[in-house]
């Protein structure tokens, strides 16, 4: 019995808790990509760098607060910085919309042209970010590190395995919950949100109904900016900020959005968690898990790992390919808001 509890605790510590946090970050990212897709109708490759930009602003703000001695210990200063980051990221996106994207919107170019434009924006932003903050890794999580440490957990429960929950993980999940709820409330309950969905559903009819496209697009970029800033900051808070990583993050985020059905916000959020949990389940070494559950003589020799951790990005790719083969519209029927 105690062995089973130990095994479950093991999974909770190494799979469930980290995946909830990572899944939340992906969910926010995928929600941003899906909103752009639903309203502006293109795959935004620059989204990763937009997240990175938001994180950079958060870090600068945190440094500013720290040097001014402002803190909200035991919570990380990042929570204070996020609103600033959201505002500046939104400003950046509105400038990009005005200077770059709007022109192509008016031309009604093919989605593939839009994609290249977004790739151009992606590299422009990447250069800008690295110029300002450099390429080295930055940890900006301050405040209390753990909500519960593995050793404390072991002491309380008397189990051999412990669950540790880092403050950043808890914050990630809570902030995501709040933000996602707010976005869905906005989309489903407010007049402006409904007009966004209408525009996504049927652009021509939305025009006939007197919905102004410029307004819808601006609101969309604002939402996307907020989501990107929060998603990026939470990811950096949890795992440390490295500008290069955000380029690679585009793949799991796209995979999450496609698995959920591109353009479908609920799907995007669920897709984020699907990707995170699959990565963890497939790259987890089950040796200790089986040692608890199986009789001693059956205990495995190797790590019992399906795929080494280096390949976790491959997991999202394989899932993506499977979805494209089996159900190209995604789990939740894409292309609506």
């Amino acid at each position: 019995m105690i062995d089973i509890l130990n095994a479950i605790t093991l999974l909770a510590n190494y799979i469930i808790v980290p995946s909830l946090a990572y899944g939340s970050q992906l969910a926010l990212g995928a929600l941003g990509i899906t909103l752009v897709y639903a309203v502006l109708r293109f795959s935004n490759f620059a989204h990763g760098e937009m997240m990175s930009f938001g994180t950079m602003i958060s870090i600068f703000t945190i440094w500013l607060f720290q040097s001014a001695g402002i803190s909200i210990h035991p919570l990380p200063t990042a929570l204070l910085a996020i609103p600033v980051s959201i505002m500046i990221t939104i400003m950046l996106l509105l400038i990009l919309d005005r200077t770059v994207f709007r022109y192509y919107q008016a031309q009604r170019v093919q989605p593939v042209t839009f994609m290249i434009v977004s790739v151009g924006v992606m590299f422009f932003l990447a250069g800008l970010i690295r110029f300002f903050i450099g390429t080295s890794k930055k940890n900006f999580a301050d405040g209390e590190r753990f909500i519960i440490k593995a050793s404390e957990f072991k002491q309380i429960t008397g189990l051999a395995e412990g669950v540790s929950i880092r403050t950043t993980q808890a914050i990630t999940v809570i902030v995501t919950l709040v933000l996602v709820t707010a976005v869905f409330w906005f989309l489903n309950k407010t007049r402006t949100g409904k007009s966004m969905r209408a525009f996504s559903d049927n652009e021509d009819l939305a025009l006939l109904s007197g919905i102004k496209p410029e307004r819808v697009i601006i609101i969309t970029w604002m939402l996307v900016g907020a989501l990107a800033a929060v998603a990026g900051t939470l990811y950096g808070l949890d795992k440390g900020y490295k500008p290069f990583v955000y380029l690679q993050l585009v793949l799991p985020i796209f995979a999450a959005a496609i698995i959920g059905g591109v353009g479908n916000p609920i799907g995007a959020v669920i897709g984020g968690y699907v990707i995170a949990f699959s990565e963890a389940f497939i790259t987890f070494a089950y040796k200790r898990f089986f040692t608890y559950l199986l009789p001693e003589e059956w205990a495995p020799e190797g790590l019992v790992q399906m795929l080494s951790t280096e390949y976790k990005f491959a997991v999202s790719f394989v899932l993506l390919v499977i979805v494209l083969l089996v159900r190209p519209t995604g789990l939740f029927r894409g292309k609506t808001l």
């Binding site: 969905r197 209408a198 049927n202 021509d204 939305a206 006939l208």
Partner: protein, 234 residues
Amino acid sequence: MTFFEGIGMHAGYGASMILNGCSISVDKGQIAVIVGPNGAGKSTAMKALFGMLPLREGSVFSDGRDITQLRPEQRVLLGMGYVPQTNNVFPSMTVLENLEMGGFVRRDDLSQTISEIFDLFPILKTKQNQAAGELSGGQRQQVAVARAMMTKPNILMLDEPTAGVSPIVMDELFDRIIDIANTGVAILMVEQNAKQALQIADIGYVLVQGENKFKGAGTALLNNPEVRQAFLGG
């Protein structure tokens, strides 16, 4: 002067002219029906009247005002409603939300209009929380018409409202359209089902190559042997 009219309209896409001087008019409470062979410019005439296609010549008047230069969304504010032939609902939104979007330009309370529309289309009331894309073809057309009614228009334009629905549903839709006309709305519609549509029409227009070929009361056109011969299949 009639309530709503387009006079001597010329319009087209690129080098090809579709409308060559046709004129259409309809008064409040009347139903006007445009019929004609394929490619005669029926739908184009509707688009031109609603400002979705710029006129090269001619003008459009509503309630005595020249609205030729107004954009479609401005015409909506003036009390014009338009139901496109296809893609005329927001498929992923509920029936109720479709109606709310129809009344998007209105800043006042919509609930009064919504309940009036539910009286007119009782089936929509029972389906109000269902996504419009999940409804049957006829119900979806009702949503489309209802959406356009949300601005309380005095001119309602319908582009082939009965395309692809069964004859029973068609009859029901026509009944609804007559009901709407009876509330004092001017109705202008393009129809493939020419015979049935002309039966309920106060005025009928037969369009050929972008010009008015015949014009007259619906029943008169139905009884006109030339029209019967050429356009109504005998």
